[in-house]
C-alpha cells in the first residue's frame, strides 16, 4: 500500500495549479474548497515543531495543536499555502484564528467557518448561509465562480470518499493490514487529493489481518505519533473500532439535494456524536455503546491532546458508562511529542494485561 507523504503531495498539487488551503481541525466543507480550486492540507500539530523564533503567542495551558500549528504555519515559506481555514471547533482554535487575524496577520488570508452545535431547523439554515459566506471569501481569493454542475461533481466525489472511509472503518477486520498501516490510510484523507484517496482506499489488501489479543476502541483527537499502533500491537492488542476526531467523527451522512449549499449544510451538521459540538451526553454514550457492541471491542483507549476541554468534560461519564457495561477504560494524554513516553507505554501494557 503505497501512500505518498505530505511533502510529495504539496509539490504535486502546486505543480497542478491548484491552490493550497491549510485547514485546522476539524469539521469543514471539503467539496466547497475543492470547487473553488483549493486543495485542503490539514494540520494536526504537527509533532515536534521547533520554535525557531521563540515567539510565544499563547500561554502554556494552550493545547499543542494550536501552539505547534501556529508555529508551523508561520515558519512555512509564504508561497506554500494560499489561505488558512480555521473551523470554530473550540475556545483554543477560536483564539488562534482571532490572534492570527488581528495581530499576527500573515500574508495569507485567514478564513473561518462556524459550524452550529445542533441539528435544528435554525442550525441548518445558518449552516447554509455560513457556507455561502465562506464561498464568497474563497471566490475573492481564487477568482473562481463554479457552476452547479461543478458543485455537484465535487460533492459526489467527496461523498464517494466518505463512503469508502465509512466502509473501511466499519469493516476493519476484513483488511489485511497492520493497525499502523490502517491509520496511515485513514489519516491520508487529511492531505491526499480525493481521487488519490479513493484509489488507495479501493486497493487496500483484503483478508483477515494477523492481529492478536483483545480488540480496542480508540477514541480522542489524533493518534500522534502513528508508532502508537505498532506499540499497541506489540503489547498484544489491536484496534477494532474508531472514534477519533481525525477519522470516524468525520463520517458524515450523504444527502441528495438540488441546491448544493443545502446539500453541503445538511451533511456538515450530520456528524456522528462529537464532543466539540457538545452532543448531549446520553446520545454520545448510547452511540459509543452500540459501536462497542457491534465491534466486540473489549476495552476503550482514549488518546487525548492535553488541555483539550471538549474531550475532558465527557471523560468521567464516558468511563463510568463503559465500566458499568464491563469494558475497562484507559485515558492517556499526549503533548504531541515525536516519541511515545515510556510512562504511556507502561500504562498501555498494564491495560492490555487487564483485558487479556
Amino acid at each position: 500500500m503505497e501512500i505518498p507523504t505530505r511533502a510529495t503531495i504539496i509539490k504535486q498539487v502546486k505543480k497542478s495549479g491548484l491552490k493550497i488551503a491549510a485547514v485546522l481541525p476539524f469539521h469543514y466543507p471539503r467539496a466547497l474548497l475543492r470547487v473553488y480550486g483549493f486543495h485542503p492540507m490539514e494540520i494536526w500539530g504537527p509533532p515536534h515543531v521547533d520554535h525557531l523564533d521563540g515567539l510565544q503567542h499563547f500561554p502554556e495551558y494552550t493545547c499543542k495543536i494550536v501552539q505547534n500549528a501556529t508555529r508551523f504555519l508561520l515558519d512555512l515559506p509564504t508561497a506554500t499555502i494560499d489561505c488558512i481555514l480555521i473551523p470554530h471547533t473550540c475556545d483554543s482554535l477560536q483564539g488562534m484564528a482571532s490572534v492570527l487575524k488581528d495581530f499576527i496577520k500573515p500574508d495569507q488570508p485567514i478564513l473561518t467557518i462556524y459550524h452550529p452545535r445542533g441539528r435544528r431547523e435554525s442550525d441548518l439554515l445558518f449552516m447554509e448561509k455560513e457556507l455561502k459566506c465562506l464561498a464568497k471569501n474563497l471566490e475573492a481569493v481564487s477568482g473562481k465562480m463554479p457552476t452547479n454542475e461543478e458543485f455537484s461533481a465535487a460533492i459526489e466525489l467527496e461523498d464517494e470518499a466518505t463512503g469508502l472511509l465509512a466502509e473501511i472503518s466499519q469493516h476493519r477486520a476484513t483488511y489485511d493490514v497492520s493497525d499502523r498501516e490502517f491509520y496511515t490510510l485513514l489519516r491520508s484523507r487529511e492531505y491526499l487529493p480525493t481521487e488519490q484517496f479513493i484509489q488507495v482506499a479501493n486497493n487496500v489488501p483484503k483478508g483477515i489481518p494477523e492481529l492478536k489479543g483483545p480488540g480496542l476502541m480508540i477514541s480522542g483527537i489524533v493518534p500522534e505519533p502513528l508508532e502508537l499502533f505498532d506499540r499497541i500491537n506489540d503489547l498484544g492488542a489491536h484496534v477494532v473500532i474508531d472514534d477519533l476526531a481525525c477519522c470516524s467523527r468525520r463520517i458524515y451522512k450523504t444527502f441528495k439535494e438540488a441546491d448544493p449549499f443545502k446539500r453541503m449544510a445538511k451533511q456538515l451538521i450530520s456528524m456522528p456524536p462529537d464532543t466539540t459540538v457538545s452532543t448531549p451526553y446520553r446520545e454520545r454514550f448510547d452511540y459509543l455503546t452500540q459501536q462497542m457492541q457491534k465491534s466486540h471491542a473489549r476495552g476503550v483507549l482514549v488518546y487525548n491532546v492535553k488541555f483539550c476541554e471538549p474531550e475532558l468534560f465527557y471523560i468521567p461519564m464516558f468511563e463510568q458508562t463503559m465500566k458499568d457495561a464491563g469494558w475497562p477504560f484507559l485515558f492517556i494524554e499526549t503533548e504531541l511529542s515525536p516519541e511515545i513516553p515510556q510512562q504511556v507505554l507502561n500504562r498501555i501494557n498494564s491495560f492490555v494485561e487487564v483485558l487479556s
Partner: protein
Amino acid sequence: MIKNEDGLLSPPLLATARMGELLAQQYLEGNTVNGVKKVAWFSSGAPIEILQALDFFLYTPDNHAALCGARKMGAEFSEIAEDHGYSRDICSYARTDFGSYFAGRTPVGKIPRPDLIVVSNNICQTILHWYQAMGAYLNAPVFVVDTPFLYEDAKEHQIEFVKMQLEELIPIAEKISGKKLSYQRLKEVIRLGKECGDLWMEILHRASTKPAPISGFDAFVLMGPIVALRGEPSTVSFFNDVLKEVDQRIANGIGAVKNEKHRILWDNLPIWYRLSWMSKKLASLGIVVAISNYTYMWGEPAQYYDLDRPIEGIAKVYLHTILNRSTGYKLDLMKRMVAKFSLDGVLLHSDRSCKPYSLGQFDQATALLDELKIPSLILEADHNDSRIFSEEQVSSRLQAFAEMMG
C-alpha cells in the same frame, strides 16, 4: 513602603450589604421553589427575557460557582470533582459546581432542580459541555442558544440564527411553564433589562472621576444582581441607590483607594478567593482598579435592546457580549478604556482555566506597550482554584508593576 495595610481603602459602599440581601433572598426562595414555580437554569450570558416573562424561577450555576469561589470553597470542591474523574485542566467554575453537586453541599442552602436548562456559548464553548453534563446528571432538557463567534462585525445571518433559536425556544418554554408568552410582559422585562444595563454602565463610568469613587473590586462584588437578577425591578431600584451613593462619594472627593497613585484596568475574570487580599495589596501600592472589562460585559450590549423588535433586539444583545468578540475588538475596548478612565497600566489576569479570555493577552500587552506606551502585567492565576495562586509570586509581580508605572 507602607508597612501597615489597614486604612488604605475607603469603607465598602452601604449598598454592598443590601446586595447581599437581594441575592440571599433569591437563593432562599430557591430552597423551596420546586413544586411552587417552574425552574430554569441559565448560563450567565444566556438570554433570560423569555424565561422571565414566563415566570420561571431563575438560577445560574455560574453565579453559584463564583460565590463558592469567593467563600474559598473552590479548591475543596475542585478536588471532589477531580476525585470523580474531572481533569484539573477544565474550567474551575465547572469543577467547583460539579464538586458541589457530588458532595451534596452548597453555601446557598439547597439548589433548585431545573425543569429547563438554557445555555448560551456567548461567553465560551466550555459552558456548553458543563451544562450538557448537568442536564445528563439531572435528567433535564437542555436548550442551546448558539451564538456564532464574532471575528468581525456581526453579519445578518448570524443575527438571524440567534433570533430563530429564540423563536424555537418560545414554544418549548411555554410547554414547560404551562403558560403562554405575553409580548406585553416580554417588553416590560426588556425595558427593565435595558434600564439595568444602562444603570450599570453609568455606575461603572463614574470611576472615570479622579479619585475613582468605586474600584473594580467593588464592581466585582456589586455585579451579582446584573448577572443573576437582570431585569428585575428590585435590581433597578438597587442600582439607582448605588448610583446615588457613588455620586455622594464624588461630591465629597472620596476615592475607593485612599492614596490613589495609579489607575489600572483589570482584564479577565477576578480572582474570587483573594478579592480582599488583592484589593488591599494593590491599594498598598497606591493602585486602584478603575475599570474591568469583565464587569463592563454585563452592560455594554444593553444598547442593542429594541422594544420595537423585541426578539431581534435580544438576539443582538446576546450576540455582542465582549467574550463573543475578537481579540482585536477586546484590544480596542481596552484602548478606549485607557483614554476614558485615564489609566496608567493594564493588569491582564492570565486565568489558567479560562482560555477564551486568556488567549490573545500576550499580543494585547505588546500592542498596549508599543502603541499607547503603557505597561501591562501578565498575572498567572485562576478565577476559582486557589491552588493555582502563589501569594509570594503575585506579590512580587504586583510590586514590579507598580514600579514600572513610576
